[in-house]
Protein backbone atom coordinates (compact mmCIF):
# COMPACT_ATOMS: atom_id res chain seq x y z
CA UNK A 1 0.00 0.00 0.00
CA UNK A 2 1.28 3.44 -0.96
CA UNK A 3 0.09 6.69 0.66
CA UNK A 4 1.34 10.17 -0.11
CA UNK A 5 0.57 13.66 -1.36
CA UNK A 6 -0.22 14.25 -5.01
CA UNK A 7 1.77 16.36 -7.48
CA UNK A 8 -0.42 16.85 -10.50
CA UNK A 9 0.70 17.58 -14.07
CA UNK A 10 -1.12 17.51 -17.39
CA UNK A 11 -0.79 15.56 -20.62
CA UNK A 12 2.47 14.51 -22.25
CA UNK A 13 4.92 14.89 -19.43
CA UNK A 14 7.83 13.89 -21.67
CA UNK A 15 11.19 12.36 -20.91
CA UNK A 16 13.03 15.65 -21.50
CA UNK A 17 10.93 17.23 -18.74
CA UNK A 18 11.67 14.33 -16.40
CA UNK A 19 15.37 13.97 -17.29
CA UNK A 20 16.54 17.11 -19.14
CA UNK A 21 19.15 16.40 -21.83
CA UNK A 22 21.49 19.10 -20.56
CA UNK A 23 22.09 17.09 -17.35
CA UNK A 24 22.10 13.60 -18.84
CA UNK A 25 25.86 13.23 -18.59
CA UNK A 26 25.88 14.28 -14.93
CA UNK A 27 25.68 11.75 -12.11
CA UNK A 28 22.07 10.62 -11.74
CA UNK A 29 21.66 12.35 -8.34
CA UNK A 30 22.46 15.69 -9.96
CA UNK A 31 20.22 15.00 -12.96
CA UNK A 32 17.39 14.19 -10.56
CA UNK A 33 17.58 17.67 -9.05
CA UNK A 34 16.36 19.04 -12.38
CA UNK A 35 13.44 16.65 -12.73
CA UNK A 36 10.33 18.48 -14.02
CA UNK A 37 11.95 21.90 -13.55
CA UNK A 38 10.82 23.19 -16.96
CA UNK A 39 7.17 22.81 -15.90
CA UNK A 40 7.51 23.13 -12.13
CA UNK A 41 10.80 24.52 -10.76
CA UNK A 42 9.64 23.86 -7.17
CA UNK A 43 8.87 20.16 -7.67
CA UNK A 44 12.17 18.83 -6.33
CA UNK A 45 12.04 20.95 -3.19
CA UNK A 46 8.37 20.25 -2.49
CA UNK A 47 8.26 16.53 -3.14
CA UNK A 48 8.53 14.25 -0.08
CA UNK A 49 9.40 10.56 0.05
CA UNK A 50 6.27 8.52 -0.59
CA UNK A 51 4.56 11.20 -2.70
CA UNK A 52 2.60 10.42 -5.84
CA UNK A 53 2.93 12.02 -9.25
CA UNK A 54 -0.26 12.25 -11.30
CA UNK A 55 -0.30 12.86 -15.04
CA UNK A 56 -2.64 12.95 -18.02
CA UNK A 57 -2.15 11.02 -21.23
CA UNK A 58 1.16 9.77 -22.64
CA UNK A 59 3.17 10.20 -19.47
CA UNK A 60 6.84 9.58 -20.27
CA UNK A 61 6.55 10.15 -24.03
CA UNK A 62 9.79 10.47 -25.95
CA UNK A 63 13.20 9.06 -25.24
CA UNK A 64 14.05 5.56 -24.01
CA UNK A 65 16.22 7.07 -21.26
CA UNK A 66 15.58 5.17 -18.04
CA UNK A 67 16.77 8.19 -16.10
CA UNK A 68 13.27 9.65 -16.63
CA UNK A 69 11.82 7.09 -14.22
CA UNK A 70 14.96 6.99 -12.11
CA UNK A 71 14.82 10.75 -11.47
CA UNK A 72 11.31 10.39 -10.02
CA UNK A 73 12.46 7.53 -7.79
CA UNK A 74 15.46 9.48 -6.52
CA UNK A 75 13.12 12.31 -5.56
CA UNK A 76 11.21 9.84 -3.40
CA UNK A 77 8.21 9.41 -5.69
CA UNK A 78 6.44 6.20 -4.67
CA UNK A 79 4.24 5.78 -7.70
CA UNK A 80 2.93 7.47 -10.83
CA UNK A 81 -0.73 7.51 -11.83
CA UNK A 82 -1.62 8.63 -15.33
CA UNK A 83 -4.41 8.36 -17.87
CA UNK A 84 -1.92 6.62 -20.16
CA UNK A 85 1.80 5.96 -20.37
CA UNK A 86 4.24 5.91 -23.24
CA UNK A 87 5.21 2.28 -23.75
CA UNK A 88 8.98 2.48 -23.15
CA UNK A 89 8.61 4.64 -20.03
CA UNK A 90 6.08 2.18 -18.61
CA UNK A 91 8.43 -0.78 -18.92
CA UNK A 92 11.39 1.25 -17.69
CA UNK A 93 9.48 2.39 -14.59
CA UNK A 94 8.48 -1.13 -13.58
CA UNK A 95 11.99 -2.44 -14.31
CA UNK A 96 13.43 0.18 -11.96
CA UNK A 97 10.91 -0.45 -9.19
CA UNK A 98 8.57 2.48 -9.77
CA UNK A 99 4.91 1.41 -9.90
CA UNK A 100 3.15 3.08 -12.84
CA UNK A 101 -0.63 2.80 -12.80
CA UNK A 102 -2.94 3.51 -15.68
CA UNK A 103 -5.89 5.37 -14.22
CA UNK A 104 -8.60 6.67 -16.60
CA UNK A 105 -9.85 9.26 -14.08
CA UNK A 106 -6.39 10.56 -13.11
CA UNK A 107 -7.27 13.99 -14.55
CA UNK A 108 -9.88 14.41 -11.80
CA UNK A 109 -7.32 14.06 -8.99
CA UNK A 110 -6.45 17.38 -7.29
CA UNK A 111 -2.91 18.45 -6.38
CA UNK A 112 -1.72 18.32 -2.79
CA UNK A 113 -4.27 15.81 -1.53
CA UNK A 114 -3.49 12.56 0.24
CA UNK A 115 -3.99 9.51 -1.92
CA UNK A 116 -3.72 5.88 -0.91
CA UNK A 117 -2.89 3.45 -3.68
CA UNK A 118 -3.06 -0.33 -3.85
CA UNK A 119 -1.26 -1.29 -7.08
CA UNK A 120 -2.22 -4.99 -7.00
CA UNK A 121 -5.89 -4.27 -6.36
CA UNK A 122 -5.75 -1.43 -8.86
CA UNK A 123 -7.36 1.26 -6.71
CA UNK A 124 -6.44 4.75 -5.60
CA UNK A 125 -8.50 6.34 -2.83
CA UNK A 126 -8.65 10.04 -1.93
CA UNK A 127 -8.15 9.84 1.82
CA UNK A 128 -10.18 12.94 2.77
CA UNK A 129 -13.27 12.19 0.68
CA UNK A 130 -13.06 8.44 0.19
CA UNK A 131 -13.44 8.89 -3.57
CA UNK A 132 -12.21 5.85 -5.42
CA UNK A 133 -10.28 5.79 -8.71
CA UNK A 134 -9.99 2.50 -10.54
CA UNK A 135 -6.63 1.71 -12.08
CA UNK A 136 -5.27 -1.14 -14.17
CA UNK A 137 -3.94 -3.55 -11.54
CA UNK A 138 -0.30 -4.58 -11.57
CA UNK A 139 -0.08 -8.40 -11.45
CA UNK A 140 1.35 -9.74 -8.16
CA UNK A 141 4.40 -11.31 -9.84
CA UNK A 142 5.33 -7.95 -11.39
CA UNK A 143 4.69 -6.21 -8.08
CA UNK A 144 7.16 -8.66 -6.48
CA UNK A 145 9.82 -7.44 -8.91
CA UNK A 146 8.87 -3.80 -8.33
CA UNK A 147 8.88 -4.33 -4.54
CA UNK A 148 12.39 -5.81 -4.73
CA UNK A 149 13.51 -2.50 -6.25
CA UNK A 150 13.24 -3.50 -9.88
CA UNK A 151 14.51 -6.16 -12.25
CA UNK A 152 18.18 -6.02 -11.32
CA UNK A 153 17.84 -6.47 -7.52
CA UNK A 154 15.10 -9.03 -8.23
CA UNK A 155 17.43 -11.08 -10.46
CA UNK A 156 20.15 -10.80 -7.83
CA UNK A 157 17.78 -12.00 -5.12
CA UNK A 158 16.68 -14.93 -7.23
CA UNK A 159 20.20 -15.90 -8.18
CA UNK A 160 21.26 -15.67 -4.53
CA UNK A 161 23.86 -12.99 -5.27
CA UNK A 162 22.47 -10.47 -2.78
CA UNK A 163 25.10 -9.70 -0.15
Amino acid sequence: MIAGLTHVYGDRIDTDLLAPGAYMKKPIAELARHCLEAVDPKFVTRVKPGDIVVGGSQFGAGSSREQAAYALLLNGVACVLAVSFARIFYRNALNLGLPALTCPTAREIAPGIELSVDPVAGVAIEVATGRRHDCEPIPPHLMAMIGAGGLLPYLEQRSGRTP
Binding site: D14, L17, K26, V39, S57, S63, S64, I88, L152
Partner: protein, 422 residues
Amino acid sequence: MSATLTEKILARAAGAATVLPGEIVTVGVDLAMMHDSGGPRRVKPMLERLGAKVWNPDKVVVVSDHYVPAIDAESAEILDLTRKWVKSAGIARFFDMRGICHVVLPENGLIHPGMMAVGGDSHSPTGGAFGAFMVGIGATEMLGVLVTGEIWLKVPATRRFHWDGRLQPGVSAKDMILRLCAEVDPDDMNYRVAELAGPAITALGMPERMTLCNMTAELGAKTGLIEPDATTAEWLARTGVPEAHALVAAWQGDRDAPVEAVHRYDASALGPQVAAPHNPANSGDIGRHLGQRVDQAYIGACTGAKLDDLQMAARVLKGRKVAPGTRLLIAPATTRTTEQAIKDGTLATLTEAGAILLPSGCGACAGLGAGLLADGEVCIASTARNFKGRMGSGTAAVWLGSPYSVAAAAVAGQIADPREML
Protein backbone atom coordinates in the same frame (compact mmCIF):
# COMPACT_ATOMS: atom_id res chain seq x y z
CA MET B 1 -3.60 -18.63 -41.83
CA SER B 2 -2.70 -15.22 -43.22
CA ALA B 3 -0.43 -12.98 -41.16
CA THR B 4 0.98 -9.46 -41.24
CA LEU B 5 4.73 -8.97 -41.65
CA THR B 6 4.97 -8.16 -37.92
CA GLU B 7 3.26 -11.41 -36.98
CA LYS B 8 5.48 -13.41 -39.33
CA ILE B 9 8.66 -11.91 -37.89
CA LEU B 10 7.57 -12.41 -34.30
CA ALA B 11 6.39 -15.98 -34.95
CA ARG B 12 9.76 -16.86 -36.45
CA ALA B 13 11.63 -15.19 -33.56
CA ALA B 14 9.41 -16.94 -30.99
CA GLY B 15 9.83 -20.33 -32.68
CA ALA B 16 6.05 -20.56 -33.14
CA ALA B 17 4.01 -21.41 -36.22
CA THR B 18 1.82 -18.34 -35.73
CA VAL B 19 1.29 -15.57 -33.21
CA LEU B 20 -1.75 -13.37 -32.66
CA PRO B 21 -2.02 -9.73 -31.59
CA GLY B 22 -2.27 -9.47 -27.80
CA GLU B 23 -0.33 -12.67 -27.21
CA ILE B 24 2.75 -12.32 -24.98
CA VAL B 25 5.75 -14.05 -26.51
CA THR B 26 9.43 -14.42 -25.72
CA VAL B 27 11.50 -13.85 -28.81
CA GLY B 28 15.15 -14.37 -29.70
CA VAL B 29 16.94 -11.15 -30.59
CA ASP B 30 18.84 -11.04 -33.91
CA LEU B 31 20.44 -7.66 -33.29
CA ALA B 32 20.87 -5.45 -30.22
CA MET B 33 22.00 -1.87 -30.80
CA MET B 34 23.29 0.43 -28.07
CA HIS B 35 24.74 3.93 -28.07
CA ASP B 36 27.11 5.75 -25.76
CA SER B 37 24.34 7.40 -23.74
CA GLY B 38 22.04 4.50 -22.84
CA GLY B 39 24.50 1.67 -23.57
CA PRO B 40 27.79 0.61 -21.94
CA ARG B 41 27.77 3.32 -19.26
CA ARG B 42 24.44 1.96 -18.01
CA VAL B 43 24.72 -1.79 -18.67
CA LYS B 44 28.35 -2.32 -17.61
CA PRO B 45 27.73 -1.84 -13.86
CA MET B 46 24.59 -3.98 -14.04
CA LEU B 47 26.38 -6.82 -15.86
CA GLU B 48 29.09 -6.68 -13.22
CA ARG B 49 26.56 -6.83 -10.39
CA LEU B 50 25.09 -9.96 -11.92
CA GLY B 51 28.47 -11.41 -12.83
CA ALA B 52 27.06 -11.93 -16.33
CA LYS B 53 28.49 -11.72 -19.83
CA VAL B 54 27.09 -10.70 -23.21
CA TRP B 55 25.26 -13.70 -24.66
CA ASN B 56 26.56 -13.19 -28.19
CA PRO B 57 28.89 -10.29 -28.97
CA ASP B 58 28.38 -10.87 -32.72
CA LYS B 59 24.75 -9.81 -32.40
CA VAL B 60 25.55 -6.56 -30.61
CA VAL B 61 26.34 -3.26 -32.32
CA VAL B 62 27.58 -0.23 -30.41
CA VAL B 63 27.61 3.31 -31.80
CA SER B 64 29.12 6.37 -30.12
CA ASP B 65 26.94 9.22 -31.31
CA HIS B 66 25.37 11.12 -28.42
CA TYR B 67 28.43 12.67 -26.77
CA VAL B 68 30.62 13.03 -29.88
CA PRO B 69 32.98 14.67 -30.15
CA ALA B 70 33.57 15.12 -26.43
CA ILE B 71 32.91 18.69 -25.37
CA ASP B 72 34.03 18.37 -21.74
CA ALA B 73 35.56 15.95 -19.25
CA GLU B 74 32.24 14.22 -18.58
CA SER B 75 31.49 13.40 -22.20
CA ALA B 76 35.12 12.33 -22.73
CA GLU B 77 34.73 9.91 -19.80
CA ILE B 78 31.55 8.43 -21.26
CA LEU B 79 33.24 7.87 -24.62
CA ASP B 80 36.30 6.36 -22.99
CA LEU B 81 34.18 3.95 -20.96
CA THR B 82 32.30 2.98 -24.12
CA ARG B 83 35.51 2.20 -26.04
CA LYS B 84 36.98 0.15 -23.21
CA TRP B 85 33.83 -1.82 -22.54
CA VAL B 86 33.28 -2.68 -26.20
CA LYS B 87 36.81 -4.07 -26.32
CA SER B 88 36.50 -6.11 -23.14
CA ALA B 89 33.09 -7.47 -24.16
CA GLY B 90 34.52 -8.62 -27.50
CA ILE B 91 32.13 -6.58 -29.62
CA ALA B 92 33.61 -6.18 -33.09
CA ARG B 93 30.93 -3.96 -34.59
CA PHE B 94 31.67 -0.65 -32.93
CA PHE B 95 31.17 2.63 -34.77
CA ASP B 96 33.01 5.32 -32.87
CA MET B 97 32.09 8.88 -33.94
CA ARG B 98 30.99 7.74 -37.42
CA GLY B 99 27.51 9.20 -37.11
CA ILE B 100 24.08 8.62 -35.61
CA CYS B 101 23.19 5.01 -34.84
CA HIS B 102 19.88 4.83 -36.75
CA VAL B 103 21.63 5.87 -39.96
CA VAL B 104 24.96 4.09 -39.36
CA LEU B 105 23.28 0.69 -39.08
CA PRO B 106 21.56 0.62 -42.48
CA GLU B 107 24.53 2.36 -44.11
CA ASN B 108 26.54 -0.67 -43.14
CA GLY B 109 23.94 -3.20 -44.20
CA LEU B 110 23.22 -4.32 -40.64
CA ILE B 111 19.40 -4.17 -40.76
CA HIS B 112 17.60 -6.80 -42.85
CA PRO B 113 14.00 -7.70 -43.60
CA GLY B 114 12.64 -10.25 -41.13
CA MET B 115 15.00 -9.30 -38.30
CA MET B 116 13.83 -9.08 -34.70
CA ALA B 117 15.97 -6.21 -33.42
CA VAL B 118 16.11 -4.02 -30.33
CA GLY B 119 17.80 -0.69 -29.86
CA GLY B 120 18.59 1.23 -26.71
CA ASP B 121 17.00 4.32 -28.21
CA SER B 122 13.43 5.38 -28.84
CA HIS B 123 13.99 6.06 -32.55
CA SER B 124 14.88 2.42 -33.18
CA PRO B 125 11.68 2.03 -35.28
CA THR B 126 13.84 3.51 -38.07
CA GLY B 127 14.86 -0.11 -38.76
CA GLY B 128 11.27 -0.78 -39.83
CA ALA B 129 12.02 1.01 -43.10
CA PHE B 130 13.95 -2.14 -44.05
CA GLY B 131 11.21 -4.59 -43.11
CA ALA B 132 12.77 -5.41 -39.74
CA PHE B 133 10.82 -5.41 -36.49
CA MET B 134 12.90 -3.07 -34.36
CA VAL B 135 11.81 -1.60 -31.04
CA GLY B 136 13.33 0.86 -28.60
CA ILE B 137 14.01 -0.31 -25.06
CA GLY B 138 15.53 1.09 -21.86
CA ALA B 139 18.85 0.09 -20.31
CA THR B 140 17.52 -2.48 -17.85
CA GLU B 141 15.61 -4.24 -20.63
CA MET B 142 18.82 -4.14 -22.64
CA LEU B 143 20.59 -5.81 -19.73
CA GLY B 144 18.05 -8.64 -19.98
CA VAL B 145 18.70 -8.96 -23.72
CA LEU B 146 22.47 -8.91 -23.26
CA VAL B 147 22.34 -11.68 -20.68
CA THR B 148 19.69 -13.94 -22.24
CA GLY B 149 19.51 -13.00 -25.93
CA GLU B 150 15.75 -12.80 -25.50
CA ILE B 151 12.99 -10.36 -24.66
CA TRP B 152 9.29 -10.72 -23.91
CA LEU B 153 6.79 -8.59 -25.71
CA LYS B 154 3.13 -8.33 -26.52
CA VAL B 155 2.40 -9.03 -30.19
CA PRO B 156 1.09 -5.68 -31.43
CA ALA B 157 -1.89 -5.17 -33.68
CA THR B 158 -1.15 -3.40 -36.95
CA ARG B 159 -2.65 -0.08 -38.02
CA ARG B 160 -2.01 0.73 -41.65
CA PHE B 161 -1.46 4.27 -42.89
CA HIS B 162 -2.17 4.06 -46.58
CA TRP B 163 -0.92 6.96 -48.70
CA ASP B 164 -2.32 7.33 -52.20
CA GLY B 165 -1.12 9.81 -54.78
CA ARG B 166 2.35 11.27 -55.00
CA LEU B 167 4.23 13.97 -53.09
CA GLN B 168 4.43 17.36 -54.79
CA PRO B 169 7.76 19.20 -55.24
CA GLY B 170 8.98 20.74 -52.00
CA VAL B 171 7.00 18.23 -49.91
CA SER B 172 8.71 15.27 -48.26
CA ALA B 173 8.32 12.29 -45.95
CA LYS B 174 8.84 14.63 -43.01
CA ASP B 175 5.66 16.48 -43.98
CA MET B 176 3.76 13.19 -44.18
CA ILE B 177 4.79 12.11 -40.70
CA LEU B 178 4.18 15.55 -39.19
CA ARG B 179 0.66 15.40 -40.62
CA LEU B 180 0.18 12.01 -38.95
CA CYS B 181 1.55 13.41 -35.67
CA ALA B 182 -1.21 16.03 -35.75
CA GLU B 183 -3.98 13.58 -36.62
CA VAL B 184 -3.21 10.40 -34.74
CA ASP B 185 -4.00 10.06 -31.03
CA PRO B 186 -0.93 8.40 -29.45
CA ASP B 187 -3.21 6.58 -27.03
CA ASP B 188 -4.65 4.75 -30.05
CA MET B 189 -1.16 3.66 -31.10
CA ASN B 190 0.05 2.26 -27.79
CA TYR B 191 1.34 -1.29 -28.31
CA ARG B 192 0.58 -1.08 -32.01
CA VAL B 193 2.61 -1.13 -35.18
CA ALA B 194 2.25 1.77 -37.60
CA GLU B 195 2.60 0.21 -41.03
CA LEU B 196 3.09 2.67 -43.88
CA ALA B 197 1.87 1.58 -47.28
CA GLY B 198 0.44 2.71 -50.59
CA PRO B 199 1.78 4.09 -53.86
CA ALA B 200 3.13 7.30 -52.29
CA ILE B 201 5.24 5.21 -49.89
CA THR B 202 6.43 2.81 -52.60
CA ALA B 203 7.63 5.84 -54.60
CA LEU B 204 9.95 6.91 -51.75
CA GLY B 205 13.64 6.03 -51.55
CA MET B 206 15.05 4.35 -48.44
CA PRO B 207 16.20 7.55 -46.67
CA GLU B 208 12.70 9.03 -46.87
CA ARG B 209 11.21 5.75 -45.63
CA MET B 210 13.64 5.94 -42.71
CA THR B 211 12.35 9.41 -41.83
CA LEU B 212 8.80 8.04 -41.72
CA CYS B 213 9.58 5.01 -39.59
CA ASN B 214 11.87 7.05 -37.32
CA MET B 215 9.03 9.33 -36.28
CA THR B 216 6.47 6.59 -35.72
CA ALA B 217 8.02 6.89 -32.24
CA GLU B 218 6.30 10.29 -32.05
CA LEU B 219 2.98 8.67 -32.98
CA GLY B 220 3.25 6.59 -29.82
CA ALA B 221 3.57 3.36 -31.81
CA LYS B 222 5.59 0.40 -30.62
CA THR B 223 7.34 0.55 -33.95
CA GLY B 224 6.88 1.44 -37.62
CA LEU B 225 7.17 -0.84 -40.60
CA ILE B 226 7.25 -0.67 -44.38
CA GLU B 227 7.07 -3.87 -46.42
CA PRO B 228 10.36 -4.39 -48.24
CA ASP B 229 10.32 -4.14 -52.03
CA ALA B 230 12.65 -3.64 -55.01
CA THR B 231 13.87 -0.31 -53.58
CA THR B 232 14.77 -2.07 -50.31
CA ALA B 233 16.54 -4.87 -52.16
CA GLU B 234 18.58 -2.39 -54.14
CA TRP B 235 19.76 -0.64 -50.94
CA LEU B 236 20.57 -3.93 -49.22
CA ALA B 237 22.56 -5.20 -52.20
CA ARG B 238 24.49 -1.93 -52.38
CA THR B 239 25.40 -2.11 -48.68
CA GLY B 240 26.70 -5.65 -49.02
CA VAL B 241 23.79 -7.74 -47.74
CA PRO B 242 23.94 -11.17 -49.40
CA GLU B 243 20.85 -12.58 -51.14
CA ALA B 244 19.08 -9.24 -50.87
CA HIS B 245 16.33 -10.08 -53.37
CA ALA B 246 15.58 -13.45 -51.79
CA LEU B 247 15.38 -11.82 -48.35
CA VAL B 248 12.90 -9.27 -49.60
CA ALA B 249 10.81 -11.94 -51.31
CA ALA B 250 10.79 -14.05 -48.14
CA TRP B 251 9.52 -11.28 -45.85
CA GLN B 252 6.17 -10.08 -47.11
CA GLY B 253 2.94 -9.79 -45.17
CA ASP B 254 -0.04 -11.66 -46.59
CA ARG B 255 -2.31 -9.42 -48.66
CA ASP B 256 -5.44 -10.63 -46.87
CA ALA B 257 -4.02 -10.52 -43.33
CA PRO B 258 -6.44 -8.65 -41.07
CA VAL B 259 -5.24 -5.36 -39.58
CA GLU B 260 -6.87 -3.31 -36.84
CA ALA B 261 -7.54 -0.27 -38.99
CA VAL B 262 -6.60 1.31 -42.29
CA HIS B 263 -6.25 5.09 -42.38
CA ARG B 264 -6.14 6.65 -45.84
CA TYR B 265 -4.32 9.80 -46.89
CA ASP B 266 -3.63 11.58 -50.17
CA ALA B 267 0.00 12.58 -50.67
CA SER B 268 -0.87 14.70 -53.71
CA ALA B 269 -2.93 17.06 -51.53
CA LEU B 270 -0.26 17.46 -48.85
CA GLY B 271 1.67 20.72 -48.47
CA PRO B 272 4.62 21.47 -46.17
CA GLN B 273 3.89 21.01 -42.46
CA VAL B 274 5.55 22.54 -39.43
CA ALA B 275 5.14 21.59 -35.77
CA ALA B 276 4.77 24.45 -33.31
CA PRO B 277 6.50 24.22 -29.91
CA HIS B 278 6.62 22.04 -27.81
CA ASN B 279 5.29 18.86 -29.38
CA PRO B 280 5.29 17.21 -32.81
CA ALA B 281 1.52 16.83 -32.40
CA ASN B 282 1.23 20.61 -32.84
CA SER B 283 1.79 20.19 -36.57
CA GLY B 284 -0.17 22.03 -39.22
CA ASP B 285 0.04 23.60 -42.66
CA ILE B 286 3.03 25.91 -42.98
CA GLY B 287 0.68 28.66 -44.25
CA ARG B 288 -0.63 29.15 -40.72
CA HIS B 289 2.79 30.11 -39.42
CA LEU B 290 4.41 32.17 -42.18
CA GLY B 291 6.44 35.08 -40.81
CA GLN B 292 7.33 33.43 -37.50
CA ARG B 293 10.83 34.80 -36.64
CA VAL B 294 13.70 32.28 -36.59
CA ASP B 295 17.08 32.78 -34.88
CA GLN B 296 18.51 29.39 -35.72
CA ALA B 297 17.81 26.84 -38.42
CA TYR B 298 19.15 23.35 -37.68
CA ILE B 299 19.51 20.52 -40.15
CA GLY B 300 20.57 17.56 -38.09
CA ALA B 301 19.60 14.31 -36.35
CA CYS B 302 18.86 10.77 -37.44
CA THR B 303 15.53 12.11 -38.71
CA GLY B 304 16.67 14.95 -40.93
CA ALA B 305 20.34 15.02 -41.94
CA LYS B 306 20.81 12.09 -44.32
CA LEU B 307 22.21 12.77 -47.79
CA ASP B 308 18.68 13.16 -49.22
CA ASP B 309 17.87 15.70 -46.53
CA LEU B 310 20.98 17.75 -47.27
CA GLN B 311 20.11 17.62 -50.97
CA MET B 312 16.61 18.96 -50.25
CA ALA B 313 18.14 21.87 -48.31
CA ALA B 314 20.61 22.50 -51.13
CA ARG B 315 17.80 22.74 -53.68
CA VAL B 316 16.37 25.66 -51.69
CA LEU B 317 19.71 27.24 -50.82
CA LYS B 318 21.28 27.11 -54.29
CA GLY B 319 22.23 30.66 -55.24
CA ARG B 320 20.69 32.08 -52.03
CA LYS B 321 22.10 33.31 -48.73
CA VAL B 322 21.10 32.73 -45.13
CA ALA B 323 19.32 35.85 -43.83
CA PRO B 324 21.37 38.26 -41.71
CA GLY B 325 20.60 37.68 -38.04
CA THR B 326 19.75 34.02 -38.64
CA ARG B 327 22.21 31.12 -38.40
CA LEU B 328 21.97 27.86 -40.30
CA LEU B 329 23.73 24.91 -38.66
CA ILE B 330 24.13 21.61 -40.46
CA ALA B 331 25.26 18.38 -38.80
CA PRO B 332 25.29 15.58 -41.41
CA ALA B 333 23.90 12.35 -39.95
CA THR B 334 27.08 10.35 -40.57
CA THR B 335 30.64 10.90 -41.71
CA ARG B 336 29.77 8.95 -44.85
CA THR B 337 26.96 11.43 -45.50
CA THR B 338 29.55 14.22 -45.37
CA GLU B 339 31.79 12.32 -47.79
CA GLN B 340 28.95 11.86 -50.26
CA ALA B 341 27.78 15.45 -49.89
CA ILE B 342 31.29 16.65 -50.67
CA LYS B 343 31.52 14.44 -53.75
CA ASP B 344 28.20 15.50 -55.26
CA GLY B 345 28.67 19.19 -54.52
CA THR B 346 25.81 19.43 -52.02
CA LEU B 347 28.05 20.58 -49.22
CA ALA B 348 29.53 23.43 -51.27
CA THR B 349 26.03 24.69 -52.07
CA LEU B 350 25.19 24.68 -48.37
CA THR B 351 28.35 26.41 -47.18
CA GLU B 352 28.23 28.97 -50.01
CA ALA B 353 24.80 29.92 -48.76
CA GLY B 354 26.33 30.54 -45.33
CA ALA B 355 25.64 27.26 -43.53
CA ILE B 356 27.91 26.34 -40.62
CA LEU B 357 29.05 22.73 -40.57
CA LEU B 358 28.93 20.74 -37.31
CA PRO B 359 30.22 17.25 -36.45
CA SER B 360 28.10 14.17 -37.16
CA GLY B 361 26.27 13.11 -34.02
CA CYS B 362 23.22 13.82 -31.92
CA GLY B 363 24.60 17.23 -30.96
CA ALA B 364 21.98 19.91 -30.57
CA CYS B 365 19.05 17.53 -31.24
CA ALA B 366 19.09 16.24 -27.68
CA GLY B 367 20.76 19.26 -26.09
CA LEU B 368 24.07 17.40 -25.78
CA GLY B 369 26.44 19.06 -28.21
CA ALA B 370 27.08 22.22 -30.20
CA GLY B 371 24.22 24.41 -31.40
CA LEU B 372 22.17 24.99 -28.24
CA LEU B 373 19.64 27.79 -27.80
CA ALA B 374 19.56 30.77 -25.45
CA ASP B 375 16.53 31.94 -23.44
CA GLY B 376 13.74 33.11 -25.69
CA GLU B 377 15.42 32.05 -28.94
CA VAL B 378 13.46 30.47 -31.76
CA CYS B 379 14.76 27.54 -33.80
CA ILE B 380 13.36 25.52 -36.68
CA ALA B 381 14.86 22.05 -36.94
CA SER B 382 14.69 18.96 -39.14
CA THR B 383 14.84 16.81 -35.98
CA ALA B 384 12.12 14.56 -34.56
CA ARG B 385 11.24 16.26 -31.28
CA ASN B 386 10.63 19.79 -30.10
CA PHE B 387 10.04 19.15 -26.42
CA LYS B 388 10.46 22.05 -24.04
CA GLY B 389 14.08 22.49 -23.06
CA ARG B 390 15.35 19.73 -25.35
CA MET B 391 17.70 21.93 -27.39
CA GLY B 392 19.07 24.06 -24.57
CA SER B 393 17.14 26.75 -22.71
CA GLY B 394 13.75 25.84 -21.26
CA THR B 395 12.35 29.11 -22.61
CA ALA B 396 13.58 28.57 -26.18
CA ALA B 397 10.99 27.57 -28.79
CA VAL B 398 11.67 24.82 -31.34
CA TRP B 399 9.64 24.31 -34.50
CA LEU B 400 9.93 21.19 -36.63
CA GLY B 401 9.90 21.06 -40.39
CA SER B 402 11.30 19.27 -43.43
CA PRO B 403 14.81 20.09 -44.65
CA TYR B 404 13.10 22.16 -47.39
CA SER B 405 11.19 24.19 -44.80
CA VAL B 406 14.21 24.61 -42.51
CA ALA B 407 16.33 25.86 -45.42
CA ALA B 408 13.57 28.24 -46.54
CA ALA B 409 13.31 29.67 -43.02
CA ALA B 410 17.09 30.18 -42.94
CA VAL B 411 16.90 32.19 -46.18
CA ALA B 412 13.90 34.26 -45.11
CA GLY B 413 14.83 34.64 -41.44
CA GLN B 414 11.30 33.51 -40.72
CA ILE B 415 9.08 30.56 -41.50
CA ALA B 416 8.47 30.61 -45.24
CA ASP B 417 6.96 28.30 -47.85
CA PRO B 418 9.83 26.37 -49.49
CA ARG B 419 7.77 25.76 -52.63
CA GLU B 420 8.30 29.39 -53.54
CA MET B 421 12.08 28.92 -53.52
CA LEU B 422 12.31 25.87 -55.76
